[in-house]
Subunit: 324 residues, 6 copies
């Protein structure tokens, strides 16, 4: 893909010529009875509304202009009531091969991908319990495709860390807090906690789809990520000769119970201190990220974000300043 | 074990000499300050209270007289306020080897074990879908120890079919109803439903302990039976070259969702007609058995059984007579 | 009503001239300030959007053009973005008398009405218990207007079997399953179960309105169908000299408890095996129908139906093929 | 029954000779192996524990000494740890005919029965709406046995107004408050409200048993009082030629909805101001009575009553004094 | 503000020239690409839709045309599908000073403000307990700004009494009912009850904002009205030398518990008869007002109001006529 | 109090002579009809059962032998079925003055009281925000009696940290974790979080009684600790001239919302990151302590603690060993 301007940088009067991801596509009829096309187009920097008033300006098959397709578009930026729009002159479907690095069209983690991967490797290498370290290596290091998926997947479809790299970012953040918690509560088994944290959402790599828009895979809808990662852990453990059964049970227990309540999809309640801790720190990290992101993204005035359905509340944006 | 009278057949004035399972053991002090022993002793036919007024009549180590131990006892049957009791003259701990067939000391299914095993084999042999039949054979036929466990396990610790052989009895009953349902709703895939039924509680063989009193194993408490059987199914499927992934997902989905609600321990809701049916028929069969058993076992007068905590209600015992 | 084409058969370019039911009516203003009319028009085969761009083309009183009215319309079929529409040239209100058989404008059961009525009669005739048979005859056979209503009513406003004839279709389906269940669980009293099934939703004939769009009657909103049918049963029983009080209580109990939980509108929980069975089979049948219908009606691609609010989930459409 | 001392008046050292109701009966064995009888005996003024140390002192059939039986007893009052007891010398079963007025052995309303009956008659006579008055007369005045039952029944088994006459006492109290509320909210239809109040618990006369200990009848357990009174109202209305259907629906609605929530056993929510009012005032009156009674009956020190399971809280007994 | 016609009085063809409150403001684009302005404009008598087809007709800064702003508008009334609209010719932002008495633009209580203030003063003067009267005077009489706020505030944002003066109207209505209840239940401490009623929603004066549209203040969102009024009561009590601690606790308890359930925001359950009564009468009054208002405001045909989200039901509008 | 042996150190055959706290007192009757006294007696090290077979051995007023009284006792230690008991020869009521340091008779925190007080002072001194530090000093340092109470109070009556000093121990533990969390999530305002932690349970000093057995005070039952500490914070803030209102609101919000859900007694949900964090870390710390204590105190065999009602589960005691 040749260089093209990021949507966030465009101003009224600019021309734009490049690839964009079609997030929403609607054919509409005007009162005069003529049809037009209203689109929501995006790249990683943001999105804007697009209008094509004359459908004859579409090159090629109109049926390919659909959600999740890449489009090659050309048009003029206008400003309407404070929001940027694009009036399209030309539009055609684009094959993925033309587009280049697809990741440039999705929200991505604010942390550097390579740095996160190295941090993960370091955490695994630092595990002292040989059985646990061996299991983590089998799951996170030796299986190249899972390793790749874990770096790329979002942490959720809509709740928190909804971006490429969100899963590893969230996992590392919980791991960091878990490390601190194990220093604070010395009776906790740090290696067990760390393993629980790294494994707790591993199944999201297969539960979610994130090649285009974020959604659930068939397996995700039918089984859920907890069941999938539980199977992977068992399989990996059975590939390590002599892997202790009690350790396998404890790790599976942490993973199965990490949603904390049956009605949130955990088939068992956390029954060990390590399982309890993983549940709390996972939940806390997701909710803090959602709060801070909600504050960052809300450009509106006033002290409150809009009502957040996932949090079931508005967030108070006003920050009491820190004293250094 | 030499022949000994079944507890249910004993009458006031009988002598008894034989082995019994100690279900409850309590050392008590009389107001005079002397210690005595109050026991609940059972065989497969029932149980009664036992009293040993002089602890010196215990042979050997007193500490071995504990719940779940077999005891060799000798005493006289008395009748107290309508209930049989035994006044013990002698008592000693007994090793399992002395006792012979342990199954004679636990409640057992009312159906014949061999007949049930053959019915199960017949159901599996009748499956037309080769992949499904192959999977069921791997789990129920070829693995001798699982096969044995499935014939022996109870269906639950306290809700329904609480007896040796209860698991297979319940499973076959649900399978029978499922067969009729598939004839009634022709769009259902019978082989899929049948496999779901046979597999839905297979994990109970490892979730519960039933060598002595019925309880939960460590793995049962940490993982639950659904997670265990899900792993077994996946493992068995991966042992069958070419096993279709979509079929594996569907079978796992039926098993994972069969409790019907998240708060009852299913991590996903039933999302296919086959999964929905297995959930309803399983639930119905357990509750009907609990109702009918509650009626049979309640010798009391009046139209109502005692309040059943598991059903959260009393059951109306009065039966409107059938007309033939 | 003269013959007119079914909406489902129309193609772009066709003319249409006939009666249609106005399901939705909206007067809108175009940006130019002129008013137009947007309608949703239906017959039993389906529905389509209609547009009338010039209100002067309406003959007669504009106020009569309202939801649930029949309209005589004339126009041209066009195709817009894959969906059929009609551009109206003429439109007027039509009196019911002009329209002929109103049933031609509503969704109807897929089963033949006469065949269902005969099946119902056969079921009642097959009841061996004379008291029960007598009661069913009083309610379903001798009262001609109730008999007619039971053949015509839908089973629900929005959950399942939402069509004319839906009530009897659903009732017969549950009765068929109940028959099979009584063969499977021989301790059940089949006549009692069958009566419970036939009676369980009888009150829907008065709870719902279904002359035009489906809704709730005043009595339905104020009392609910369970209370209404309970009264009818008591009244019918008191019309049969010597009707046994215990049987009356048991039948009322089955009907009152058939929603299975207080929070679903049953004032008592099912406390007999017969009541429990009727609850489960009723619930199962409604949900299975909703699932299968959801699959049939969803023409969309992908493995999943849209989110169903009544089921609180999406349904997996992909069917594992049966092996014969 | 000859005059006998009320239990509440007995002091240590008194002799007692008379009839008492056996509320609880337990045969127990002492550590020495001898059997004795422990009883809870009551009259309307209260109850005490009784002990019979020698079963040979029982005249006649021991099996008749059972809960809910009247006993003729003779013994000495002792005082044990602050509570009165009776050491029995003689005891025999007594037939009801010997005992005289059974009502002397149950808790009774603190209000005079005759006065309450007259107040009820006055309320009904004061209803201005002729249809409503006619219906109330049919149910409360003309049916002598229902009239008698309504004067005698308790309002509940365990929640509030648990005494003979409790139902009419509670009903009149709610009626009094309802009268005041109708004066305050002039848009309310007072006759409708009053009828709803008088009818709302009428079914308790058949739901509860109160000849001996208070409990539920078979019909009560199977149908609940709401369903029973709904049927009675409909039947009475159909006995009044021309009774308006809309009024019948409204009255039934008030009665059916008066528990206020589906999970409390009302099949519909209150949907009119009159229905809402009846629900609130009924609920309030029951809870206030339970609170005030809890305070009166709690002789303990401290500011709090014991934990009340029905209220799910302790009640603060300390009363801020009124200023006149 | 010069005299201007109330919106409710306008008819098709009228001209209008005056100030209105902008409740909603939307800039829209027509299919032709031209922008127009769609407004919801209101005064105390009601609201209507306004359209300005040519944005050049706006005088001054367009950004000031925003929700909650007053606008000076000029236009013609038209009638569209039964609803009045205004087609605007001119429009400009108006400063509050121009507008005059802002209260003329909001819904106001149907009761006279002065009369309500006097009724409140009378209630307080009638309190016999000197401590309680002293406290009420401190909070309602001596603090002029709180006194003023209490007269002006609405009772809620959306549930009931949503109008200026709604808080005092609701409070007085509950107080009236409480007075009657204390006459009916003589064990209640009337002064305590009355104080609880007057104080129970006092914090709404600070929880809500009601200078323009009704909403929540920052403090309201962060603390809730219960916490705020609890603090005020404590502060006022500590300003009265010798104020009895037990009375302070009891008053705070009534206020803290008046929502009746923890999940409705009360940190404690009502544990005294006075607290229980205040909870019930407050809840009842709010719901009755919402019901009666719903009936008054619903001009639609049929027996039912639209579904009320706050009541979770439709209300039956049909009123059984009173007989005098 | 002279030196006396700690209960935990006593062995069979020892004599004991000293003061003990009566935790439970029951007068019982033996089957022979003689009365005896059964006691639960404790010091800080533990408790044991005591029996006094001859009530004449009690010196002085028998009525003073009541729960929460100190007793002077003399007796012999015996061992009964694995548990130590004391057979009492003499017993009398003891005045508090005789007993000396009462704290020796209650469970106490495992951490040193002085060390904890210093740690608290250090935390407050380290707060950089002058307003927050000033407020904490006012509440924790300058008010000597509150300072003392905060050092002495338990954290709860039954859930976690149920010992003298438990409140400060729990508070400091949460503060330690909060400190680590603020280092991990740099956007958090550490001073605000720390203040929230220190203040979140301050009201427990007045909610609970802990001079003898642990319970709730009248104020605790009527208001709850959250309402009490909210008032104290407001009062302290108003004592600091110029204290910023926004800061006061934010601190109150953290305290009011720290139970995390309305149904757990918080009138508002946490709406800032700081409030959310305090809720999670408080909850986590209490549950971890309860888990670890449950494991420590359970001497039983097997992998599981008894069922914990407060946690609604059993805890898995088996610990996977750490690798160093």
């Amino acid at each position: 893909m040749a260089e093209q301007a990021a949507l966030r940088t465009l101003k009224e009067g600019d021309s734009f010529n490049g690839f964009l991801l079609a997030q929403e596509v609607a054919f509409k009829t005007s009162a005069k009875g003529s049809e037009y096309l209203e689109l929501k187009l995006g790249d990683a920097s943001g999105d804007l509304k697009g209008f094509l008033w004359d459908l004859r300006a579409v090159e090629g098959d109109l049926d390919l202009v659909a959600p999740d397709a890449f489009l090659k578009v050309k048009g003029q930026i206008s400003n309407y009531n404070g929001r940027t729009q694009i009036r399209l002159d030309k539009l055609r479907f684009a094959r993925d091969e033309e587009v280049g690095d697809l990741a440039r069209f999705f929200p991505v983690s604010r942390r550097d991908a390579e740095e996160m991967a190295q941090e993960l490797d370091g955490l695994i290498a630092g595990v002292k319990d040989p059985w646990i370290r061996r299991l983590l290596e089998a799951l996170f290091v030796e299986d190249a495709s899972r390793r790749e998926a874990f770096r790329r997947a979002p942490a959720a479809k809509s709740m928190h860390h909804v971006c490429l790299g969100g899963l590893i970012e969230h996992t590392l953040s919980v791991a960091g807090m878990a490390d601190r918690a194990c220093a604070h509560y010395p009776d906790l088994n740090r290696d067990l906690v760390l393993a629980g944290v790294l494994l707790h959402d591993l199944g999201k790599t297969a539960e979610l789809t994130y090649q285009r828009s974020f959604g659930y895979s068939d397996a995700g809808n039918l089984l859920g990520h907890i069941s999938m990662e539980a199977e992977w852990i068992s399989r990996a453990a059975s590939g390590i000769p002599g892997f202790p059964e009690e350790l396998r049970l404890h790790l599976l227990h942490i993973v199965l119970s990490h949603h904390g309540r049956l009605e949130y999809g955990s088939p068992v309640l956390p029954k060990t201190p390590e399982a309890l801790l993983v549940h709390y720190l996972d939940d806390l990290d997701g909710k803090l990220e959602a709060m801070f992101r909600g504050m960052r993204e809300d450009a509106g005035e006033g002290s409150w974000t809009p009502f957040s359905r996932s949090m079931d509340r508005m967030i108070y944006k006003s920050r009491w300043p820190k004293v250094d």
